[in-house]
Structure formats: C-alpha cells, structure tokens
Symmetry: C2
Subunit: 453 residues, 2 copies
C-alpha cells in the first residue's frame, strides 16, 4: 500500500530517464503521492530530476515542489523563469506554501514572480505573509479559511460555506466573526448538521476557542497544539481580527525541527545536516564543537602539566584520568538534558531554581556515593595503593556533584537570559566538566599523597 | 488568553482547598481547559488534587483525567471504586482514551470496570482496543468514526452523517465502505457540500486514500502522518475492513515521545523522567549509563596501567589523555547521532552502508587533518618535545577516523538486527571510543618514543 523507495526502483527510473521513455516514467510515478515523488527527486541529480519533473501532470507539480527538501527546491526554482514559477506553480498553492516557496528565491526574482501572479488577491496574501517575522505564528499561518458572520442563520451559513469551500482545500473549522471581522468563536460541521435551518449562528457558536496572535512564537504554537490536541488554530492581529489559520501538519514540522535541533545540539552538531549531505557540509557542521573539544583538551593538558612533578613520582595517578573526565562529562550531560527537555516541553513545573538545585544535589550525592564506593572497592582489591583508592573515590563523588549542579544551573541561567539552553548540552558542558574534574582530581590527589606543587 | 500556571495561582488555590471554600475554587478552575486543570492537578499532592477534582463539573472530569500524567492518573484511579470509574468517567470518553485509562488499572479492577460499563457497544469497543499490541496502530486507534455506503446518495449520506455525528466528538473525514465494510475511500465535507443531492457516493468518492493496518507500528503511523500531512488515518484489519481511525493529536504524542526517548538515550538517561520527579527515580534513570561509564573508566585505567613504565619515564604523555579521550567520544557521538536521526526520520536515502562509511571516512579524514595540524602546531610552540607533538597529532587523526567509522557502523548494524539504534549514542559509544582512543594513543606514543613494553 505505502510506497517504499528502493535502490531497484531508482535504477529503473534512471534507465527510463536516460532512455527518454516518457510513457514508462509516467507509469512509474503518476500514481504516486506528491510526497513520494518529492522523495524520489531528492535522490536524483538535478538534471535527472528536471527531466522527471517535466513529465509530471500539471496539477501535481506544485504539490511535489512543496514536499521537496529546501535546498533541492531552491536549485529547482533556479532552473525556472519567474513567469513559469508564477503561472505554473504558485497559482495552485495555498498561501503559506506559496510564501515558503517564494521566500527561498533571491529578492529580485521573488519580486518579479509576485508581479506576475495573475490572482491579485493571492498576490496580496503572499506579500502579507512574507512580512511576518520568521518563527512567528504569522509566518506559519495560511490565509485560506472559512468564516461566517454571527448574524447569519444556519442556512445562510451552509450556503456561504459551500461558496467559500471552493477556494479552500480542506474544511477544518468554520470561524464565527462579527461585522468588524473580530474572531468570536467557531462552529463545528457537526453543530451545523444537527441544527434547524433557521437558527442563528450567534445562538449556537462555541466561544471557548484557542487562538494565537500573529506575533506568538512558533514554539508556543507547537506547545498549545500539543497540549490542547488542536487540529487547526486561528490567528488574530493585535485588534483581535481573524487573519489566518495554522494547521497541525505545519505545526508537526515545527515540532520535529525543534526536536531535531535539540538532538543535534546535544550530539555536538551545529547545523541541520543529514547523513547524505556532502563531506564539506558535514565537516562544517561538526567542526565548531570539535574545536571547542580541542581547546578543552588543551586546557586539560595545561592543568595536568601543572601536576607533572606529582605524576612523575606517582604515575598511577594517570590511570584514572579518563574515568574522572568521562564521569564528569556524563553526569553534566544527564543533568543538563533533563533541564533542556523540561524547558522544551514545559514540564519543569513552578518550583524555583533553588528547589531544583537541591534535588539535583540529592541525586548527585546518591549517585556519587554508590559509584564512589564501587570504585573504592575496585581500586583496593586491584592491588593499588590506598592513596590512589581514596583519591579516585573521593574525587569521583566531588566531580559528580559539581558536574550535576553545573549541568542544572547553566541551562536554567541561559534560558533566563533568553539564550537557547540546548547550547549547554553536549560538548560544551562535557568540556568544562572535563577540566573541572581534572582540577578536582589532582588537588584531592595532592592533599592525599601529601605532595605540594 | 492562554492560561499560564504560576506559583501565586497555586498558592491561592492551595489556600482555597485548605479553607474548603468551594465557590472560590470553582471560580478559579471552572473556566479553564481540561488540559490546564490537569496541569494544575499534576502539581498538587494527591489529597489536594482529590479535593479539587471533587468540585469539578461532571462533564469535565473525564477530559481532565485523560490529560493527567500517567503516574498521577493511576494514583487517582486507585482512590476511586470500579463503579465510580465505570459510571462517572468511562462513559464520557472516546474509545481510545477509555482503553488508555483502563490499561493503567490492575487486571482485576479493569475487568470489574468493564463489566460495569452500561453501554455494551462501548464496552465491546474498549475490550477490542485493549487486545491490540502496545505500539501498533490498533492500540493507538479509536473506534468512533463516520462511514457511509458507496451505494447511497448525497442526501442519504448527509442524513446518515447527521445521525452518526451524534456519537462522534468531531467529524474529521467520512469514510466510504462497501457492503462488507471494506474501506474504499473517503468523501470530504467539501465534496458533499458542493454536490447535487441525488448523486451517488460511488461516483464521487476519492479512492487515493492513505491507510494503515492494525498491525502497523506506531513509528510508521507517525512517519506517514508527517510525510503526507494527514489529519486522520483510517485503520483496516487484515481483510481491509474499516475498524478504526487515528487522529493527528495522538500521533503528535507518539512523535514527541519518540523524540524525547532518543534525546534521553543520547544524554545517557534510561527512563522517561522529568526534572520534578523524585530523587530515587532520577537516580535510577541515570545509574545504568553511569555504571557503564565507570566500567569504561576502569578498562581505561587498565589500559594506561599497562603503559606505566613509559609514563613513569615520560610523564608528559599523560597531558593529552583527556584530549584524546574526549575527541574520540565527541566524534563518535556526532557520527552516531546523524545516523540515528536519519533512521528516525527516514532521511538516510537508499545508499548502501559502504557508501555511508566511505563518506564518513572522508569527513573524519578532513576533520582529523585540520585538528591534527592545529594540535601539532600548539604542542610544538608550547615548548613540548617533538615526540609528544607527533604522538598527539598522529593519534588524534587516527582516533577521529576510528571513532567516526565506529559511530556510523554500530547504529546501522543495530538497526539491521532490529535493535534500537539510539542505544549506540551517548555514553555507550563515548565509553568504547575512550578506550580505543587510549590504546591508539599509547601504541603510537610507544613507537614514536621508541619505548617497548
């Protein structure tokens, strides 16, 4: 039932493209969903993709375009003239998709395309949408929606919905507005179906409606959609007038993007990349965090160098350097990840930072004591010196507590200053905790071995 | 507009609860959305929560219950008798929510509740749903949906939708079935609104419908929903008969859960915890990975111990132990994260594992050479020995390449054997790369310093 892209399919398709057999190609792709065709195009070279794109039926090309990956889409659009874009593509798109597509064009070409759009109403909608700031509800919404006046009857309302429905792809919710277009509430298809024809809308609409302003951030839109199980969310301007609606499919994309960004941050990847991207892009996305790691390693080396005399005398101190560094890093990442995730899904509750640090201290102390006892036992039974055993176990407890508090504190503070707390996860926190851990380890070691610098 | 839970609000509410002033309480919460009330209850003690729950208007209690966090909900249900659950709660829920709620009860109480449900049709639906395996479309779907027969006319269809709509909370899509209940397609509200009354459904329904089987995994449901921008997805049995539907709000929950699970794995947290959970739960969630880290550290110590004679002579070798370990870990996590994310969002494309490893080798070589040259320069200008400079830089290049290949290979192999590839991220890959890194570093060091074990 569901299409699954395979290597065989791609090979057959490539053969069809190079032999120029349009009928075979049409047969292979015409029945597919636009999203599947887009997936295929993402895998092809630009030239192959353009050949395939040319044979697609006219009504499908716009939909396929919307589903393409952004970089592939932009390259595609480069190969088309402004006239082709305006006439063959934009006309069939909803306003939000059209604005997305145009937003990827160079300024000049964008203006040319807009001037060539025949439907002036659509051109106006697109220009409106392009003006909203990226990352807000305004930039996410579409203009197409169905609305009725509170003073109408059910019959008038159904007639009007029928008329408006011709211009809207899918009827989600019918909004109720007053004479000034101020959003009052919504009326469900179910209510219309079950009510007598002459009843007035003002007597039957639901006013407990969730809405956002054009300036609401897309994160808040996503959180509301999830919390209240919404399928569509109306957007109003500062005066409460209905200006657009956001559907759940666009919100899902926002959620996925956010989750992926947090995940990549935690893994030390600084740009949105995929495993199929070029070597150069992948290197660029990873280099920043590796440089931070390298600098951290250099600082670590300087810390250890300060203790060289001790090391030269007691080489055994070096054995547990990786353990201390790794545990500090692990604990720090765990602590910061719980905070970052709590901030993202708003599950931190209302307790104060102090309460959180207190609980985190408890967790770290418990973890530290368990692990400290384990390592104390191990070092003692493995015939190492008692000095080493105490140095390792005591500094492990200390490092775990410091790393946990640090990992909790930093993302909370970043968040308070409106900096993305996800920055605190991954290599950043690991690196700092590495260095702190080494300092703690050697200082405790010196005092236990009775060695002075 | 949107409710925001604050500490002041909670304090006022607690006062109202302890003073027993029901009117004040009712005024504070009755206008709120069920999801907001659930958020408040999640913050209260069980006793306070039960007092507040008691004054909620009857039609709201079920909705609030559905929005509670699972552990809070289960404790709540413990305080109610089977009769109360069956009569006051279950009756108002959709079948999927009812099955979720019942699934959290102990076996015996669950059976008692089911036997007490008055609406036999609902009881049957719930029992059906409870039988599907967790994590499949069957367990995710609800039974409530609107369907019409292909042989009906538009008028018959509208009448029937009106009748069925009374039992369904929200009309998403109307499905078209044949006489055997086999799913044929869907008909949109828009099409019904725009068609003449006597037209037959069989002439106008859309057959290009996306559907899943009851056995489809929830991951596949989520991927389909996102890819095809679906709002609702019909579910059929092995014979293609329509048995339920999955709405996007439930799919969103699945997506968020999956993303959070992957994120927690990458951060070394083994259970689904929140920062407000108890110290004991938080410790339990973190201990497994810390133990792995500890064992890794112990192996690392054994590796270094083997090289003690070299270290005793050249203590400077210890300086860069943290750098080598950290860089191996960082590169490994980066490589595995890109694969894990690609597997999750199906963006790996169709290329073979060999192609991936080849590209990863290229990325690692490029990263390694850049970082290796940087560290070579640093060590040389910081007045360290040339032996140390070459040992650090050469082993850094080697470690980066090994860690990258390992980080790519492991999740791909895990995935091939149907093990969650996210296991390969976080502390696991870091720990193994730490040890490999140390081995490489010291072996290269020995050969450069001309020292033998």
């Amino acid at each position: 039932m569901q299409f699954k892209l395979t290597r065989e399919f791609l090979e057959n398709l490539r053969e069809g493209i190079s032999s120029g057999d349009k009928d075979v190609l049409a047969e292979m792709v015409n029945e597919l969903h636009a999203a599947d065709i887009a997936e295929i195009l993402d895998e092809l070279d630009l030239e192959e993709a353009i050949s395939l794109y040319r044979i697609l039926p006219g009504e499908k090309v716009s939909d396929v375009l919307v589903h393409l990956e952004e970089d592939v889409r932009d390259r595609f659009l480069e190969s088309l003239t402004a006239k082709q874009i305006a006439e063959k593509l934009i006309g069939n798109l909803e306003s939000d998709d059209a604005a997305d597509v145009l937003g990827g064009l160079p300024e000049e070409k964008m203006e040319e395309v807009i001037s060539l759009i025949r439907d002036l109403e659509q051109a106006k909608d697109i220009v409106d949408l392009l003006n909203y700031e990226e990352g807000t509800a305004g930039a996410l919404m579409a203009k197409e929606l169905i609305k009725v006046n509170e003073n109408w009857t059910v019959t008038q309302c159904v007639t009007e919905i029928r008329r408006q429905a011709e211009y809207v792809d899918q009827v989600y919710t019918t909004y109720v507005v007053d004479d000034n277009n101020k959003l009052l509430g919504r009326i469900s298809v179910k209510a219309l179906l079950l009510s007598p024809d002459t009843r007035k809308i003002s007597e039957m609409y639901a006013s407990d409606i969730k809405l956002v302003k054009t300036s609401t951030s897309e994160e808040d839109v996503a959180n509301m959609t999830q919390k209240y199980d919404l399928v569509v969310l109306p957007v109003v301007d500062e005066l409460g007038r209905l200006v657009g609606r956001i559907t759940v499919d666009d919100v899902v994309d926002v959620m996925i993007e956010e989750a992926e960004r947090d995940y990549q941050m935690a893994s030390g990847i600084s740009e949105d990349v995929e495993s199929t991207d070029s070597i150069w892009m992948l290197t660029r996305a990873r280099m920043p965090w590796l440089l931070i790691g390298l600098m951290g390693g250099v600082f670590g080396a300087q810390v250890i160098e300060r203790f060289e005399p001790a090391l030269a005398k007691y080489a055994e101190l070096a054995f547990f350097i990786p353990l201390i560094a790794a545990m500090g890093g692990n604990v720090g990442v765990q602590s910061s990840a719980i905070i970052v995730q709590g901030l993202a899904n708003k599950s931190l509750g209302v307790e104060s930072m102090f309460t959180k640090l207190k609980r985190e201290f408890g967790v770290a102390l418990l973890n530290g004591l368990i692990l400290g006892l384990l390592i104390l036992g191990y070092v003692l039974i493995s015939n190492q010196s008692r000095e080493l055993a105490f140095t390792v176990s005591i500094s492990l407890v200390a490092v775990i507590i410091v790393a946990a508090l640090f990992g909790t504190f930093v993302p909370l503070v970043l968040n308070r200053y409106k900096i993305d707390p996800a920055l605190a996860t991954g290599p950043f926190i690991t690196t700092i905790n590495d260095i702190l851990g080494l300092l703690i380890y050697f200082l405790i070691g010196l005092s236990i071995y009775g060695f002075s610098l």
